[in-house]
Structure formats: structure tokens, C-alpha cells
């Protein structure tokens, strides 16, 4: 099981567990039986709602109970007051805090908010605060980031304001805290595309030039971290960037990145005698782009690939494949 250390089970431990489990199993199975019986008899009331909560606290993955819970809420209809809905949100939150990686809980939260009669800008903004908190606890939580994007769409549809600028500040903060947070870099791409699409950036050229120094800064801070290099790959290949900078500045940007990457690579060679894998892969990409603008450019692809075979043996076959395609 994920992240749980293997335990040495002595006979005594097994016996202890058996005794302990016997009670727990009885309790759990009784609860589930009762709830399923109620469901089969179409019982939809607050008591049965409470039953599902008791079970879900023991086992948040029992989706049949989440389903029953939703059916109960739908059946109760208008008499499920706003107060009840809010209590539902609190219940889900305590579950999420205990089990932040269980799909069903996240799913149920979205369902609840979508069906909440008081669905409003305020409600969804409060959700954003909650996501911020959860991402503070685990800044890579896959569900958390997915949920965040859903919440932002909702806020925007309620307020008709574009949140991308705030969102850019948020991902910048997240990246500053840890430049290896690829989830934040990924979101940065989404946010920038949305800013461009919504025509939200006045000085596009300036904006992307700042972005180049941000990338450069990250590259120098940790040249072994793949996050920034994936982002860089998007950046140099992006049509949006190319158009915003204009061809001349775009080519100048490529050249300056190349110079810095070579400096990092040289520095690594001076330090350890070995080339830097990320640098070399990126240099190949940059040169390939440059070649499109300058057919006479001399490529170092072959040389770089040969070094890569040495410095990155795990991916040797990929480099061999690329070499054979030259």
C-alpha cells in the first residue's frame, strides 16, 4: 500500500489484530447492511443521511454510500435547507482533511456545490480559499489543482471577471516557494494562454521578456530540476510567445537563452567533468528552431546526443534512436 512500511507480523501481533478486528468488522458490516437495507426500501431521510456519514467516516471510498447520500439529498428536496447544505460542505471538508487523495470525496464536493441552492460568487470564492489551504499542505496534490481549475471557472462564470492575473500571481508564489513544483509550472502555461486569449496583457513583449528572466533565474537556481526545462520547452515553441515578441526579439531571446544554457553546461563540465543532461536536450531543441530561421546554422545535435548517451544512460536508447534518425 502506498507509503506504508511493511510490518513484521508475529503470531502475537496477528492474534491481537484478529481480536481487535473482530469487533470493528461486526460494527462496520452492521452499519453497511443497515444502510443498504434502508436504501433498498427507498428510505430517504435525515436519519439515513446520518448513517451514510458514519460509514463514510470509517471508509471514505465506499462510493455506494456517497451515491446513496446524494440520492437522499435529492429526495429530501426543498426541506434540505441551506443550513443542511452548508453542513454537508463541512462534513466533506473534514473528510478531505483526513483523506486528501480520495477521488470520491473531491467528486462529492463538486456535486454538492453544483447542487447547492445558494451557489454564488461568495460560495465559490470561499472554495478558492479552501483550495489554497489544501495546496499549502500538499502543493502537488493532483486533485487539488484539478479542483482549483474547476473553482476558477465557476468564479469567472459568476462574476464575469477574468481571474487569470490573480492566478498568475498565485502560481508565481507557488513556484517561488518551490521551483520543482511542476503542477504550478503547468498551471502557469494555462494561465498565460488564458491571459493572451482574453487579451488581458497590455505590454505583451515586456511581459514575455520578464518571463525569460524568470526562466533564466530558475535555470540557474536549479539546472537539474526538470520542471523549469519542460516549461522552457513550451515557451520556446509557443506561437503565442513568438508572435508577441516579434521575430527579431524572439530570435534574440533564443540566442540569449542558448548562451546562458551553454554557460551552465560549461560550468558543470568544469565542476564534474560531465555535461548537463537538461542543458544538452534543450540546446538541441533551440538549435532546431534556430535552423528554421537560418538554414545555414551549424547544428551540434550529433555531438550533444553522443554526450547524452554517456551522461544519461537510463535513456540511452532514446538518444540512439534520435542519432539514427539524423
Amino acid at each position: 500500500m502506498h507509503g506504508i512500511k511493511r510490518k513484521k507480523w508475529t503470531r502475537e501481533l496477528i492474534n491481537q489484530k484478529k481480536i481487535h478486528d473482530r469487533e470493528r468488522i461486526n460494527h462496520y458490516r452492521n452499519l453497511v447492511d443497515k444502510a443498504l437495507l434502508a436504501r433498498d426500501s427507498n428510505v430517504y431521510d435525515l436519519d439515513s443521511l446520518k448513517q451514510t456519514a458514519d460509514i463514510l467516516q470509517l471508509n471514505p471510498e465506499l462510493n455506494v454510500m456517497w451515491n446513496y447520500r446524494r440520492d437522499i439529498i435529492l429526495h429530501i428536496g426543498d426541506s434540505f435547507s441551506e443550513e443542511h447544505w452548508n453542513r454537508e460542505l463541512i462534513f466533506i471538508m473534514t473528510q478531505l482533511k483526513r483523506f486528501p487523495k480520495v477521488y470520491w470525496i473531491w467528486d462529492h464536493r463538486i456535486w454538492t456545490l453544483n447542487n447547492h441552492p445558494g451557489s454564488s460568487l461568495k460560495l465559490w470564492k470561499a472554495e478558492l480559499d479552501i483550495v489554497n489551504k489544501l495546496l499549502e499542505l500538499d502543493s502537488r496534490n493532483y486533485h487539488g489543482w484539478h479542483y482549483r481549475r474547476i473553482v476558477i471557472v465557476k468564479i469567472q462564470s459568476h462574476s464575469s471577471e477574468n481571474m487569470s492575473k490573480e492566478e498568475l500571481d498565485y502560481v508565481t508564489l507557488k513556484i517561488n516557494q518551490n521551483i520543482s513544483n511542476f503542477s504550478a509550472w503547468h498551471q502557469r502555461v494555462q494561465v498565460i494562454l488564458s491571459l493572451i486569449e482574453g487579451n488581458e496583457i497590455d505590454e505583451k513583449k515586456q511581459f514575455f521578456e520578464n518571463e525569460v528572466s524568470y526562466i533564466t533565474n530558475a535555470m540557474f537556481t536549479d539546472a537539474e530540476d526538470q520542471s523549469v526545462w519542460f516549461y522552457l520547452k513550451w515557451f520556446i515553441k509557443s506561437d503565442v510567445v513568438k508572435e508577441s515578441l516579434g521575430q527579431k526579439s524572439y530570435l534574440k531571446m533564443l540566442e540569449s537563452l542558448k548562451k546562458n544554457i551553454i554557460a551552465i553546461n560549461d560550468d558543470d563540465i568544469a565542476f564534474s567533468g560531465k555535461g548537463n543532461k537538461r542543458c544538452l536536450n534543450t540546446l538541441i531543441n533551440i538549435e532546431n528552431i534556430q535552423k528554421k530561421f537560418n538554414p545555414s546554422l551549424e547544428l551540434h545535435t550529433k555531438e550533444y546526443l553522443q554526450i547524452l548517451i554517456e551522461v544519461d544512460p537510463l535513456r540511452k536508447n532514446r538518444y540512439v534512436h534520435l542519432l539514427s534518425n539524423l
Binding site: K101, V102, D138, S139
Partner: protein, 612 residues
């Protein structure tokens, strides 16, 4: 002889805390009473014990607890009417007595004590009373990842104590206090660091985390100085070199050898983000004084007997009888362990204390919050060699504790300065550091400056200086208008057998005379300390790192092996595991670095989908 002049002990402070933190409490949180503080001293001493320990300093107390839990019968005595001995936390009145004892040369291992106490402190309607202050004789802090911390947790002594985080380390340079740039985030976001420097710094930090695994990098420099290594191998700039060696590594000189320095730099970095974004902790209400008391209480729970105001007259290694100055006697079947400060009058075997530590402790009437991170109450300031007016050759280290540490009243602050410089130079260095700190705190806390951004200043020669970065830098020529009020100022020299910076070596505990005497069964005539094993005086080390090493070595000498050192098995161990201690540290924030483990642990019972 019941002592009325003292600070409340942990047992007396504790009840209210137990009530307020019921969710953490288990029965073992109850702090047992200690003889001589809350309980009267026992009238009689036991007839026979396995081990007699004299002195309730840090090492002796850890040793007493370890032995008591291992099953040895321990009599632990102290000649003072308080606990802590060389590690004590004293009130102002206690401090006065302590200083006069030194000057009457009744206390070996200390010399040259000078004490100034402002008349604002006194017991007749003055602004402060003696008990308001808890002054540590050898102040220390605790690395978040260290031997002592794991023993504190294992022995559950941590439950008696309260810890606070300390995250701000400053390096004094060019008349200004620079905060450290030592996390990836700080390196990434620092606008002033050149790109290549960022790279070099990160490369070094990554390397040092498991430096032993990369001999090809450091071995060529194994006998060279860390300064040379950082400059030649990692191309680091002087500012970073100083930070790494002196503040992060807490080394004393620039020529510290590479492996030594790497080990010390590493211990800071691996301690970062263990309990939150800070590398070290300190205990509230007093440092080593609190900790040694905590271990004494733990030893008492395990059955050790305590007696204050008890001093050894002599030990006879042939009959194994120890005689005390009050005439009582005890049979000691195993060993007598003793702090040099507690040596009998007729001692002949106290090891030579060849090294001096010069200390200057100051209580100032300023909160000094400018030096603390939000919500914290402590800071460390390091003065690298050559940074002071005195032209210091060795580092001066300063530990700052504010009123939040509960060691001094609100509006005041304790500054502990120390240096390994020997002889007369030392006091000059300490004075220079004190002056630098005074100037800095005055200008940083001055209310004359309303806006600390974009300050325009006209210098003497008419130049305009605009500074929007650091206050400290812009007021280089600023002279304080009002001096800092000193409430207390204490100089003293402590002597120790532990060389600065060395790990405690086993040989320290065996002076040659004793070894020879034990072997030949021939003892020095007239000596009261034949066959006694002396502990080492606290070294200059500002962390607790040497304490466990020393206690373990002594333990091994007594028990034969250190395998079961604090191998304590509590009955409710399981419950403990599910309630890990970190939750109790104040200001401790959950770290998200490897949230994978933490976050998954909860939903562990469910064979889920893939790890995401």
C-alpha cells in the same frame, strides 16, 4: 535549607498547560516533583548505589536518566541549592552569589567574573525583580534533527518542556546584519544574487546534504581549509563563504578543516524544515537549565535518588565508600562520576582545563523584535573574523532571546555573546561585538525613521544616498543618540578540557593519573577523588550536539556498551506513535516537502488507485 530565591520549576508551571492541551496529554505528561525544589530533600541517603553522580549539569543529567532507565541505582547529588550546575539557569540574585563564589575561587573552572546589575532590578518596589530573569550559564539551542532531540522524544522528556522555533541567523558584515539566504526559495527569489552565484550556492547546498557520498569532490581538499574549498571548488563569493562557514556552519575560524566544516554546515541544512521552516529550537524558561532539570525528573521517575546541597568529601576506591561533607556515607558498587565543579576540596585529579571560553551576557531594556522573525523570540548573530573594530581573529557568536522565551520580562532582551578567543583579546572582541549590536538595534528600532523604504539621506560630504533595500546599510554612519540601557552585564571566563570544535573524545574522561592509579591499585595519598571519573565542562559549542556524545561515552564506560542507551520501552508506545510529538512545538508548521508520505498515511487502509 530550602531555597526561596528561584524561578518556578517546570512541575510548578505545568498544571495549567496540561489542562489547556488535553488533546495531547497522556498520563506521562505529569511532571514529577524533584527533591529540593518542590519536595523537601530526603533525610537519608541510600546505603548502597550502583552509581554516584555529582553535579546536575546537562551531561550528568542525561547520564543519570539513561542509567536509571537502564536499571542502575543512581544517587545524583549537587553541592548547589539549585539544579543545573554548569548548565544552570539562574535568577539575578543567584547569579550574584555565583559570581562571588567564583571570585572567592570556590568554584574551579571559572575565572574573571564581573557582574553589573542596574538598580532597576531589586526586591523593594523596583521595576524588575530578580526572579523575572533566567540567565543561562552556558546557553544552547537544539538542532531540529539531532541526537538530543530524538532522545528527548524517546525518553518523553520533551513532554515536560516547551520548545520555540528560531529561524533567524544573521551574519554581521560591513557594519550590517545580513539575514541568511539559505533556502532554495530565498536563493531563487533573491534579486541581489548574481545568477552564477545562485547556481554555485545551490550546487554546494545539494552537495553538502550527502557530502560523504561524493569523495571525489572533497577528498582532494580533506586537509585544507573550508574557505579554500568553497572558493576554489565552488566559486563562491566572500559573502556566501562567510555565511556558510560562520552562520550556517557555526565554525569559529576560516581555516576550519573541510570535513569538520561540511559536517557542521550539513547539520543546519538537514534540520531545516523538519518541524517547520526553521533549523533550530530552544526551550522556553531557560536552556540547558530546563533540559537538565527535565532529565533529572525523568531519572527520578526511573528511581534515581536526588539530593541538593550535598558535596563529596572523599571517595575510597578500595572500600568503595563515598563520604559526604555532612558526614553521611554511601557504598558505590560501580562508579563515581563527577563534574569538575563539584570536586572535593582535597581533589588531585581534576583534568587540566586548557581551553577558555569567554562569555558576555547582557540584559538590555529593548525588545529587539527587529531581529526576530514574526512570532519568534530568538535570533542568532555571528560576527565573522575581521568583521569587528577589534580586528577579531575568531568568531563571536551571539544568541538573542526575547521576552517570548519567558527568560526575561516584556520589553527586555538577553544577549549571550561568546568567543573561543583566548586571553585578553577575548574581552575586547566581546566588547566590540556588543557595541556593534547596540548601534544596530538603536538605529533599527529608532522611531525617528517613519518609512523604511526609499530613505533619502544626505551624508557629510553632501552626497545623497538613496536606499530602498536594507535599513542597516543606509545608516552606516549613524551614531546612536541614546545608549542602550543595560539591566545586567556579566563577563566571565569558563575553562574546559574540550578543545573548541572537537567532538568529545573518550580520552577526555581519563586523566593519566587515574588510569595509572586504577591499574596499579595505587592511589594518591590525601586525594579525595581517587578513582573518580570526571565529566567534561561544557564546551564552547552553542548547540547541544556534544551532550549526547559525552553522555553516551560515559554510559559505555559504566555499562560496558551503549546498545541500550535510552532503550526505553513505554507501555503505551503505540499510542505515542500515532500522536507524534512535533504537533506540540510552537510555531511549527507542517512541512510539505515530502507530503507524499504524510498525506498517504491517512488513507493507508485503502488499497487505492495509483499514487497521485
Amino acid at each position: 535549607m530550602y531555597n526561596t530565591e528561584r524561578r518556578p520549576s517546570m512541575a510548578e508551571r505545568r498544571p495549567s498547560i496540561i489542562a489547556s492541551s488535553a488533546q495531547y496529554s497522556s498520563s506521562s505528561l505529569v511532571v514529577p516533583h524533584l527533591a529540593g525544589i518542590e519536595d523537601p530533600l530526603p533525610d537519608t541517603t541510600p546505603d548502597k548505589v550502583d552509581v554516584l553522580i555529582a553535579g546536575t549539569g546537562m551531561v550528568e543529567s542525561v547520564l543519570a536518566a539513561a542509567l536509571a532507565w537502564q536499571g542502575s541505582s543512581v544517587l545524583h547529588i549537587d553541592q548547589n541549592d539549585y539544579y543545573g550546575d554548569t548548565s544552570a539557569t539562574l535568577t539575578v540574585d543567584q547569579l550574584k552569589r555565583w559570581v562571588s563564589q567564583i571570585n572567592e575561587t570556590m568554584l574551579p573552572c571559572y575565572s574573571n567574573a564581573k557582574l553589573y546589575v542596574s538598580n532597576a532590578i531589586g526586591n523593594d518596589n523596583r521595576k524588575y525583580i530578580s526572579r523575572d530573569f533566567g540567565i543561562d550559564l552556558s546557553p544552547k539551542f537544539l538542532f531540529a534533527k539531532s541526537d538530543l532531540l530524538s532522545i528527548l522524544v524517546k525518553s518523553r522528556v520533551h513532554q515536560y518542556l516547551e520548545f520555540q522555533s528560531l529561524s533567524t541567523f544573521h551574519t554581521y558584515e560591513n557594519d550590517s546584519f545580513e539575514k541568511l539566504t539559505n533556502t532554495k526559495q530565498e536563493i531563487f527569489t533573491n534579486q541581489n544574487l548574481p545568477l552564477m552565484t545562485k547556481r554555485n550556492l545551490m550546487r554546494f547546498i545539494k552537495f553538502v546534504l550527502d557530502w560523504e557520498k561524493h569523495p571525489q569532490i572533497w577528498e582532494p581538499y580533506a586537509t585544507k581549509s573550508i574557505t579554500e574549498f568553497l572558493i576554489e571548488k565552488f566559486n563562491l563569493e566572500p559573502a556566501q563563504v562567510n555565511e556558510l562557514i560562520f552562520s550556517i556552519g557555526l565554525c569559529y575560524t576560516a581555516d576550519t578543516k573541510v570535513p569538520h566544516a561540511l559536517q557542521r554546515i550539513r547539520r543546519y541544512l538537514i534540520s531545516f524544515d523538519v518541524y517547520g521552516p526553521f533549523p533550530v529550537l530552544y526551550s522556553k524558561f531557560g536552556g540547558p537549565g530546563e533540559l537538565s532539570q527535565g532529565f533529572c525528573r525523568s531519572a527520578a521517575v526511573a528511581g534515581a535518588t536526588y539530593k541538593l546541597n550535598e558535596k563529596l568529601q572523599s571517595f575510597d576506591p578500595t572500600t568503595k565508600v563515598a563520604t559526604f561533607t555532612d558526614g553521611s556515607k554511601v557504598m558505590v558498587s560501580e562508579k563515581v562520576i563527577m563534574s569538575p565543579t563539584q570536586a572535593p576540596r582535597s581533589h588531585k585529579h581534576v583534568p587540566k582545563q586548557n581551553f577558555e571560553i569567554h562569555r558576555l551576557t547582557c540584559v538590555v531594556e529593548k525588545s529587539c523584535s527587529e531581529w526576530f522573525t514574526n512570532n519568534e523570540s530568538g535570533a542568532v548573530i555571528v560576527f565573522p573574523p575581521g568583521s569587528l573594530k577589534s580586528g577579531n581573529k575568531r568568531v563571536v557568536q551571539a544568541l538573542i532571546l526575547g521576552s517570548g522565551s519567558e527568560c526575561c520580562p516584556s520589553g527586555t532582551c538577553i544577549w549571550y555573546l561568546s568567543t573561543t578567543e583566548q586571553g585578553d583579546r577575548a574581552e575586547m572582541d566581546l566588547d566590540a561585538a556588543l557595541e556593534a549590536m547596540e548601534i544596530s538595534i538603536i538605529r533599527e528600532s529608532s522611531t525617528d525613521i517613519v518609512n523604511d523604504e526609499d530613505i533619502v539621506q544626505i551624508t557629510d560630504n553632501g552626497q545623497t544616498v538613496v536606499n530602498s533595500v536594507k535599513l542597516g546599510q543606509s545608516f552606516r554612519e549613524y551614531y546612536p543618540r541614546e545608549p542602550v540601557q543595560h539591566l545586567l552585564k556579566l563577563y566571565y571566563t569558563q575553562h574546559t578540557s574540550t578543545p573548541p570544535f572537537d567532538i568529545v573524545a573518550p580520552s577526555l574522561f581519563e586523566n593519566e593519573t587515574t588510569i595509572r592509579a586504577n591499574k596499579l591499585n595505587k592511589f594518591t595519598a590525601e586525594a579525595g577523588d581517587n578513582g573518580v571519573m570526571y565529566t567534561a565542562m561544557p564546551s564552547t559549542e552553542i548547540s547541544y550536539d556534544e551532550v549526547v556524545t559525552a553522555a553516551k561515552l560515559l554510559y559505555e564506560k559504566i555499562v560496558g556498551s551503549d546498545d541500550d542507551f535510552f532503550d526505553v520501552d513505554f507501555e503505551d508506545e503505540e499510542e505515542m506513535m500515532s500522536n507524534p510529538p512535533p504537533a506540540k512545538y510552537e510555531n511549527a508548521i507542517i512541512d510539505d516537502e515530502d507530503a507524499d508520505h504524510d498525506m498517504d498515511a491517512d488513507s493507508s487502509e485503502f488499497v487505492g488507485e495509483m499514487e497521485i
